[in-house]
Symmetry: D2
């Protein structure tokens, strides 16, 4: 490691997203973890909570402390919603760059944010500056950003699947359907009866059909690339698996003569982490588990005017910690794939 | 058991559907299993293949034999597609009533059947007479039928969810979407690498997006209850669980002032096996596992003109063996719920 | 149902054991549930918490109330340890018979109980009277009992596997090993991070190797049938499944000429719920899931002097609620299998 | 990569072990895969069968061909038993070094091998030369070997757990018990009904209790480090998970005054891939999934004379492909951990 090593801090290192961030940074050749904070676990060895990190991480969790974090080059927030917005301004002033994995800076309109997240936004003045961390759309801005709002897991999978169609005006953006399925780790590492093994295994269900917090985020992202009004029905489901998001996207084509497969390939041809499967092949979640890739399949069943896009990601990697590291790489001028080259295991 | 006990035969008793049929009939107070045939297992004790049936079933599998089957009151076919159509005519002539759990007599148009099932139909002359065994639509005809075509699993879940809307003309039947998820037992008990635990666990995927055999069956069922042209996009998925089908159905409402919940309750008010959950509650597959119930939830997210219906069944019970027993009960004048009163286990 | 119907009360109906008890009693032809108490859910419909019971149970949870419970013929305690011992004396005085599914009355020696359960026993005077509810050993006493201590799940599986060997003095009781594996539902329906799907799935581990509360219970049960000193190493494990206990039992044979298979068959020949598999066949947990059976296999690998007994039960049925109903049947003179005839589902 | 890059060939690249070997070598900085053979998939792109390898492996499977393999520095056999023994002699003569992941060269006594594997050994003359590839015992010999017999998965977990005790004579080697549990991938990628998801999920069972092929391998390995007669009861089990082996080992201590934890730490202090957990902490399989580590816990329940060792590995990594790469590193003078630094994911 050279003298240019990035000094990284992590606020909130005890959840699944935080754990993945620690793991990815521990294997990253261009970054060192200087501090990992946790209110509840301060003083405990990180490797004690995550035995997979034994001999790879020797530091302890510490209580959140502005002084310590201010010495970092970059601070990641892997905290519940509502925490980052209380600390970001001070850290920015100290010259630290921020990648926030929570939802605090994802929605530009603080009124909408407050309505969906049920709390007052204490730092609305930074919403404009914050860059939405989806490199496939905002790479340049991310490179220059002080504050990156790392996207949600569903929004990443859904936007990457819809974007090529909407950018080109090929579908009616007013009648989109996103039927998405998530593994349970997306709900986080929290003691809740609904997340128990005995409640989840051998069970499948939809949830929050009347409205999920990721809906306004997806809406904002899609509306940003078209001038026509976007309308989306988004139904999330929970599957009995730990990791993975599978989105099945439906839209009405305006033109059925376009080579959709070629269109997607062209749109993502230079993207290191978006992969279009050969025509006819179906994506599956396991081939991206542990990897930062999004894989896509495109179908037009019975040659009708309905296009079906299948999009898979690992919710904790491309849907959270991996995309955060990808953003760090962009912000600090590293090769974008640095530290993100792990290949998914089969089986 | 009285002298009125139904004498039942099962052709093809070694698959998952056959096994469930044996189990349900073994607990049925009004039926006795006289014969269970299996080409591959002839001579082996049934309880040897299914140790859960030890001390409950004492007979052996026998080779398929027309004479033995002809002495039954009813014969169930739990065979691969293409077998029932070669035996049904002879059994009907012998006065036996037939419940076919395979797809041989589900599609009225033999040309369409042949196109989707890839073989020649050897008994098209009985297609007209065969009654589609969905009691919630064809109860009266089933009661009088000699030959019942037991519906497929996806078609049962999808039709029960869409029917109230289409019968009343409340949605545009030309833009239906059925996003359905199945447990792996739906693929049967066959040695295939794609069905291995190591291929399925911690994995989620769509399959047959270009066209699944249940599409024409669903189409036929929905078209039968409306004069307007039906058009359906049907995307099946495989989830890492053994049992259960969860269908998420999308349709465009023509009238957003209707009380959808009341409409569904009214439509199914006398149905013993269709249960509308209280408004706002989401169905889940486990609450119908092992039971013959279909449970339904109805939503209109963001008060838009898109209605979302959630429909769950146990693919091997209401989607196969349970519905077959329900049909037997109707055909022989028993109370429709006889032998089908098992309550799903939680957890 | 006749006038002889048993009026049953359940204290603590919101856990997995309580839910199973409700389900079994709801299907029981000789018992009615009069009251189900829950401090936390009082006033809520039982079928709201357990949607599988919709239309089968119409009552609400009520707050625990001695008067209401006193009108029952039998009261089941499906409560955390430490609750039953505070209420049993009053209920007995009111003429109610008790089946306690918690551990309060399982251990005869209150000092040992207090050491393992970490609390003071408030009702030691009833320990002598309480009958240990393992019908295969104490059937006669259960029939006459006012207070039955329903056995733990591990102790049921382990004792049924060891008993024939120890009763006959065939093995050295001082060097027993019980290697047992449980599904997660055995830990109950409680919000704990260690029981989350994301912590359990694709994971296997031993726990409490230094000492598990079921050890003194097993010890007491085995010591009761031999005059030689019993010594047992008991290692419990957690497997990524909801239900089932699989115990692999090891002992040193004193005599390798005995026909062990015949011995086990003879010991359990009249037992309705203990089933010895044919020689050479291995038990598996799924064939007893949802059933009240214990299945056993007996091996002597490489014809050595080590006997290996495999024992499986459903931890929530024969290991808890099913055995409780079996005990109720015995106490009230019903056929022992009444309401316990459900056949396990495969798959 | 330097000019010293190792040129590797893989015979049998379509199974789970072969797939892992490809994945590990694709990420290895000191090796290149020159050829991957498969009789059944010759001509197909490797990344087509393993979509996780898209863009990382561009070669096709080829038919097995001695000439092509002879140009490799090292050839791995990831074939069914009985294949390697027909090709190894020719490849050795061509100067190629061999790492055989099958069982062909693991057992020194060809009579015993033939008895357990049910076929004639066609290359017994190389059994003496073959080095058993357990680096923790045979590191030096592996470094000099032309032919390495890579250990089985159970034998790796069981030997690493028992070795410190037996080498020091601390336990009676004549009464060892190894109760081991494996994930399903250990059975390989083969179409068999017993390995279907619907047969495995929510199920737990022992198998091959009368005798498993890994028994003579474990026996040979333990007998090699003691002059006292070894006797072992080995009971393998199948758990509903894809990866992982968990061995629970029981032995009788001759001396209960030894600090067992310190003994294990000392024995493995320089081993890069054996990790002794802090006293009192229980190993679990997921913390080694995807990693080449073996983790161990040591207990003495109730301070008795029975020691319980818990040992976990990933059956496809330290139990197969990872250990093979570790052996390659030793044979070619690379740092032993090269290419094996992936950290297990939690969750």
């Amino acid at each position: 490691m050279s003298e240019k090593t990035i000094k990284a801090g992590i606020v909130g290192g005890t959840g699944y997203t935080g754990g993945e961030l620690i793991r990815l940074l521990a294997m990253h050749p261009g970054a060192d973890i200087a501090v990992i904070t946790s209110r509840s676990e301060a003083g405990r060895a990180v490797a004690d909570l995550f035995p997979n990190l034994r001999y790879r991480i020797s530091i302890d969790f510490t209580a959140p402390d502005l002084a310590g974090l201010s010495e970092c080059d970059v601070v990641f927030f892997a905290t519940p919603n509502g925490t980052a917005m209380t600390m970001v301004a001070d850290l920015l002033q100290a010259g630290v760059r921020i990648i926030d994995l929570s939802a605090d800076f994802r929605i530009k309109d603080s009124t909408i944010w407050q309505q969906w997240y049920g709390m007052t936004h204490t730092c609305p003045e930074l919403l404009d500056e914050a860059v939405y961390g989806l490199p496939e759309v905002y790479r340049e801005a991310i490179g220059a950003a002080r504050l990156v709002a790392n996207p949600g897991c569903y929004p990443t999978a859904v936007q990457l699947g819809f974007l090529p169609l909407i950018e080109k005006g090929l579908v009616d953006p007013a009648s989109l359907i996103a039927n998405a399925v998530s593994g349970v780790s997306g709900a986080g590492r929290k003691a809740a009866i609904g997340l128990l093994f005995s409640e989840i295994d051998e069970n499948f269900k939809a949830y929050n059909v009347t409205g999920h917090r990721h809906l306004p985020e997806i809406f904002q992202g899609l509306q940003a690339v078209t001038e026509q009004p976007v309308n989306l029905t988004f139904v999330p489901h929970l599957a009995p698996m730990v990791r993975g998001i599978h989105a099945t996207l439906y839209a009405k084509l305006r033109d059925t003569d376009v080579n959709l497969h070629a269109l997607f390939q062209q749109r993502y041809t230079t993207e290191p982490f978006v992969d279009i499967l050969p025509a006819g092949q179906h994506v599956e979640t396991r081939t991206v588990t542990g990897s930062n890739h999004c894989q896509l399949s495109i179908f037009r069943p019975q040659d009708s005017d309905t296009v079906v896009v299948l999009s898979v990601i690992d919710n904790l990697i491309k849907g959270a910690a991996g995309q955060a590291v990808q953003n760090m790489n962009i912000m600090f001028g590293l090769k974008e794939t640095t530290g993100l080259e792990t290949i998914a295991m089969i089986p």
